[in-house]
């Protein structure tokens, strides 16, 4: 299976200095993952778990105070390999949007408010492709029609469009140069359920028609269950569990994942749901050992000192919990 993005032991911290006091927020701490060609790879976690930071680093957008301290990222598209962490800004400019594209959080606010949507598209395409205005207009119109969006949206100003339409226009903008890898950060947060469904439908449609790969970070377990092929669960800057979507939802191994899934309310079921006690840790001073141990219902003494590594317990299934690893070894 072809690996499109290979991330090894990535560490990225926010380092700030005020009045001589250095503060380090360990937002991404030793993340390793591999994204396969053509799949939808879901990254799930609560706010402050490092999802957005991880995507920013993958996009080669790490600017101070965000510092990449270690690890590697490799993109491989066909016969071309890229290493975004060691590329110059100029080199990155050629890869960005054309090979790897990014749909940032709250992206519906990113369209230029004093320009018609069409002009934003023109600017964007002409910055990357040497094309004439009429050609660009044709290409944009064709693409928008291909995605099933109304053409009137192009001649509107952003404020004249609804939130859902703005979001779909932004997605069209981010994918018009047919990138091979699309990184989406909370693409549907702040949208209503029906609109959310329409936007997810669009993302799926783009992936199917262009054969691109989608990495989607969202806290919404329902969205992941609906769309993702594989899911990685992030907690306090670390991947704690990774497997294909069916497995994660049917038989979660990590206590955090178990809690996350069990606490979700379901339609047609009014039985009591209990939320995880405590709060996610502050990442400038994470707890020692396993970062989940202060909230974990099954934590043992050893969990307070030993940081469990992410171990492959079955083919394609990784978990970072000493208890879960032991249990699944017994099971087989």
């Amino acid at each position: 299976m072809h690996i499109v993005a290979d991330v090894q032991d990535l560490r990225a911290h926010y380092v700030t200095r005020a009045y001589g006091i250095q503060r380090t927020v360990k937002a991404v701490e030793g993340v390793s993952l591999q994204v396969r060609q053509g799949e939808i790879y879901g990254i799930v976690g609560e706010s402050g778990c490092g999802k957005s930071t991880l995507l920013k680093v993958l996009m080669g957008e790490a600017t101070p105070p965000l510092v990449v301290l270690g690890g590697s990222v490799r993109y491989s598209f066909g016969n071309q390999d890229y290493y975004p962490l060691s590329m110059t800004e100029r080199e990155l400019g050629r890869v960005r949007w054309q090979e790897v594209s990014y749909i940032p959080q709250g992206s519906m606010h990113l369209l230029n408010p004093v320009q018609r949507v069409r002009d934003t598209f023109r600017d964007f395409v002409s910055a990357h492709r040497p094309m004439r205005k009429a050609e660009i207009d044709d290409m944009v119109r064709g693409y928008v029609r291909h995605l099933g969006l109304p053409e009137q949206a192009l001649s509107a100003f952003p404020h004249q469009l609804s939130g859902g339409m703005r979001q779909r226009v932004t997605i069209a903008l981010a994918t018009i140069l047919s990138p091979k890898l699309v990184l989406a950060d909370e693409p549907t947060t702040a949208l209503d359920v029906v609109v959310q469904r329409g936007v997810l439908q669009l993302l799926k449609q783009i992936r199917e028609s262009s054969g691109s790969t989608l990495v989607m970070a969202t806290h919404d377990m329902g969205v992941q269950a609906n769309l993702a092929d594989r899911v990685a669960v992030l907690y306090a800057g670390k991947v704690v569990e990774e497997a294909d979507t069916e497995t994660v939802f049917r038989d979660p191994l990590h206590p955090y994942t178990q809690h996350l899934i069990r606490s979700l309310p379901k339609m047609g079921d009014k039985s009591q749901r209990i939320s995880i006690p405590g709060n996610p840790p502050a990442l400038d001073n994470p707890p020692p050992g396993c970062r989940f141990h202060p909230r974990c219902p099954v934590a043992r003494e050893a969990c307070k000192y030993e940081d469990p590594p992410l171990v492959e317990v079955a083919p394609g299934r990784r978990v970072a919990c000493s208890l879960a690893v032991g249990r699944s070894a017994h099971g087989r």
């Binding site: 029906v194 469904r197 269950a225 899934i261 309310p265 379901k266 339609m267 209990i274």
Partner: protein, 333 residues
């Protein structure tokens, strides 16, 4: 319990709110809430959810219940009294004690420059709920109802607490006046999944232990199903379906409620969406649509849906605003 003759706690009767939008010389009228009807009983405290997409008029309705906006037409009665006709004094001394609000963004509720406990003291003292000698104990009781204590929040600024904690303080503040109705506008949408259920469970506890009724405004149907006793589904200012939550969400009748329910992503990979849906291209157009507001997207729209407004029909334990159920007592199929 004091109450009105007909035993209602809150009675929203044909309430409309029309905004006029001027563009140059032309004036457009937009009905954010159109002849809404809703009733909460006082004998049995309940959690009533108001659900719908953004722009459906949920928040406008909430602010009219709270008396922050005056309805253009219609009457809102609280414990039998018309809330639009209260004097300033009655409003402060009676109504604002009885009806309290919890808002969406806990960090926008409190000023970052003020200590968070000062809001609790102000509420308790300004409404003369208790005297200075007993104020600490009263506040501590309100905080313990939400799983906090005065010791934890005293002297703290909002940024020193987590989002879940600040939202709890916001609910505790609302509880200080011993209200009988809490209006919560999207209280959990800014919170993380792992904290969300603790706030939602809190509403259930308040209903069961303290007899507080809650108007729970949300766009999240799964928590609405979990927490609410009854639910009203809103679309572009209309209440299209209202009734007990098990009926309305368990077996939705209005085509819009059906679309809404099917669009909730369930955390079960076996229940992925299969068929595609169509979205409203321009929101604006739905507000001004003649006839049924949903006709443009409705899979079972009839010709008359585009011309006439459907009335409200009582079917299978709920009220539905759709021509499909005009022949009363039609079977649920």
């Amino acid at each position: 319990m004091e109450g009105s003759a007909d035993g209602s706690l809150l009675d929203i009767c044909d309430v409309s709110k029309v905004f006029s939008i001027r563009q140059g010389l032309s004036v457009t009228h937009l009905a954010a809430v159109d002849k809404a009807r809703l009733r909460l009983q006082s004998a049995r405290p309940e959690v009533c959810a108001i659900a719908g997409e953004s722009g459906s008029g949920k928040t406008t309705l909430a602010s009219m219940i709270l008396g922050l906006q005056q309805p253009t037409s219609g009457i809102i009665r609280f414990k039998g009294r018309d809330t639009t006709k209260l004097t300033g004094r009655e409003r402060r001394q009676w109504f604002m004690r009885e009806v309290q609000a919890v808002f969406q963004d806990p960090f926008a509720t409190f000023s970052p420059l003020k200590r968070i406990d000062s809001y609790l003291y102000e509420t308790a003292l300004n409404y003369k709920v208790v005297d200075r000698a007993h104020v600490d104990r009263h506040i501590d009781e309100a905080l313990s109802a939400v799983g906090l204590s005065l010791r934890e929040v005293k002297g703290r600024y909002p940024n020193e607490l987590s989002g879940g904690q600040v939202q709890r303080v916001s609910i505790a503040r609302a509880l200080i006046t011993n209200p009988s109705l809490l209006v919560a506008d999207e209280p959990v949408s800014m919170l993380d999944a792992s904290l969300r259920m603790s706030i939602v469970n809190l509403f259930l506890e308040l209903r069961n232990r303290k007899g507080v009724s809650v108007v729970y405004i949300t766009h999240d149907l799964s928590t609405a199903y979990y927490v609410a006793d009854s639910i009203a589904i809103m679309l572009r200012g209309w209440i299209v379906e209202v009734g007990p939550v098990e009926h309305v969400l368990g077996n939705p009748l209005h085509p819009y409620t059906q679309t809404l329910k099917q669009s909730v992503p369930e955390a079960d990979p076996a229940k992925r969406w299969r068929e595609e849906i169509s979205l409203a291209t321009m929101e604006w157009e739905e507000f001004r649509r003649r006839g049924c507001k949903f006709a443009g997207r409705c899979p079972s729209a009839l010709g008359r849906c585009r011309r006439e407004e459907p009335g409200s029909y009582t079917v299978a334990g709920r009220k539905v605003r759709c021509f499909l159920y005009e022949g009363d007592g039609r079977s649920e199929a």
